[in-house]
Symmetry: C2
């Protein structure tokens, strides 16, 4: 029987739907049955990751571990986390379950490092939590790639746009603001901009002169690859 | 703690993502945490419902019952089925679990019957399985509403468009074809067209002179109402 992916989602809900849509689109299918079975815990009640990291807010670890165990007990053979910041808790989640938990941040850094021509500097749009902890920085540093981030004032805008997406603000105005922030990183020397929070792809488009790398897309492709190519040999 | 909805999905996957998007959009929120927690089993491996009904194909009941029990054991307080045809198995699913299973078809018939000015004739776009079994007919008949359906040749087009959506064919061409089928029902006297298969809203738009009633939207609103208004008193 084909393997099943479990998704720790709801952080936020639209980002989870975005990941699911990208998994569906990334699967080569000739009929409904060829699609990947996904068990999704879309749980918007998980304590806010950035608040926990920066301000000592409630710890999301128990909720994330409970979600991971629930998905595995329901039959998931592989887990994915539809939130970049929550990857801070990846080691705790992986330690709690006997199945592999994909690491979206490591996978993204690996894919960027494989780009040809090679990239030396990436711009990172992400939450304060992801930036402060250096979740991307450490993976890129290991590959000799420099990470630049928005300045303090811009970071406030990033956070406010991310919070907006979580409550459905995905129209032209937030899209224009997020794109301006990406352009600012590009102007400061970023060869590629990493949409390093799962809300960001919902308000940021790739344009010819503004190359964007989407970790949600990388995660979706990795899931399909694991379920169909690695395990099924297709 | 706020109640959790479990969704029997994957029939097809895009239709499940559509339902989730409609639940998210129907929820009044001020922050991520206000969204509804959804446990989703997006299982495209469920035997085809129409094939089982019309041609004696493999019975989907065991898969649907297993999915329902899994969602409840994971914590779902309420279940919904993101497939109209699968509502043929609603009694078996309901009998297998101790939580309420929403009936999208009954809810839709009720909402249509409440329209003002009243509707006397609806057009039904749905699978061969849904039409032959009269899943909508019986609920509308009980309310004195006549159901008209596409002719035999048109039904083949409906089925082929539905099968197409299940593998991602949601562009302008299928949209034009589905809209022509809805217009045909309208021309034959349908006051409202029911998008009675969860794939159909993905290739059918409401136009001013072509009123479409979307059961997926009705189900989404019912879920939000149950979780937030009925159980939480909001």
């Amino acid at each position: 029987m084909e393997k099943i992916v479990g998704i720790l989602g709801g952080m936020g809900p639209l980002a989870t739907v975005d990941l699911m849509g990208k998994i569906i689109a990334a699967t080569p299918v000739q009929s409904e049955r060829d699609h990947v079975r996904m068990l999704v815990d879309c749980n918007p009640k998980v304590p806010d990751r950035t608040t926990a990291i920066l301000d000592g807010g409630p710890d999301p670890t128990p909720a994330l571990v409970e979600m991971a165990r629930g998905l595995v007990s329901q039959g998931a053979d592989l887990l994915a986390i539809a939130c970049n910041t929550a990857h801070h808790y990846h080691p705790a989640i992986q330690a709690a379950v006997p199945v592999p938990v994909l690491d979206m941040i490591a996978l993204t850094a690996q894919r960027v490092a494989e780009l040809n021509p090679p990239v030396h500097t990436v711009g990172l749009l992400a939450t304060q939590g992801t930036v402060r902890l250096g979740l991307y920085h450490r993976h890129f540093a290991a590959r000799g790639i420099t990470v630049i981030t928005p300045d303090e004032v811009e970071m406030e805008t990033v956070m406010s746009l991310i919070t907006g997406v979580k409550i459905g603000q995905v129209g032209p105005a937030p899209r224009a603001s997020m794109t301006a922030l990406a352009r600012s990183l590009r102007g400061r020397g970023a060869e590629v901009v990493i949409a390093g929070c799962t809300e960001i792809p919902l308000v940021l488009s790739t344009e010819p002169d503004l190359p964007v790398f989407d970790p949600t897309q990388v995660l979706a492709e990795s899931i399909v690859h694991m379920v169909r190519a690695v395990w099924q040999g297709r």
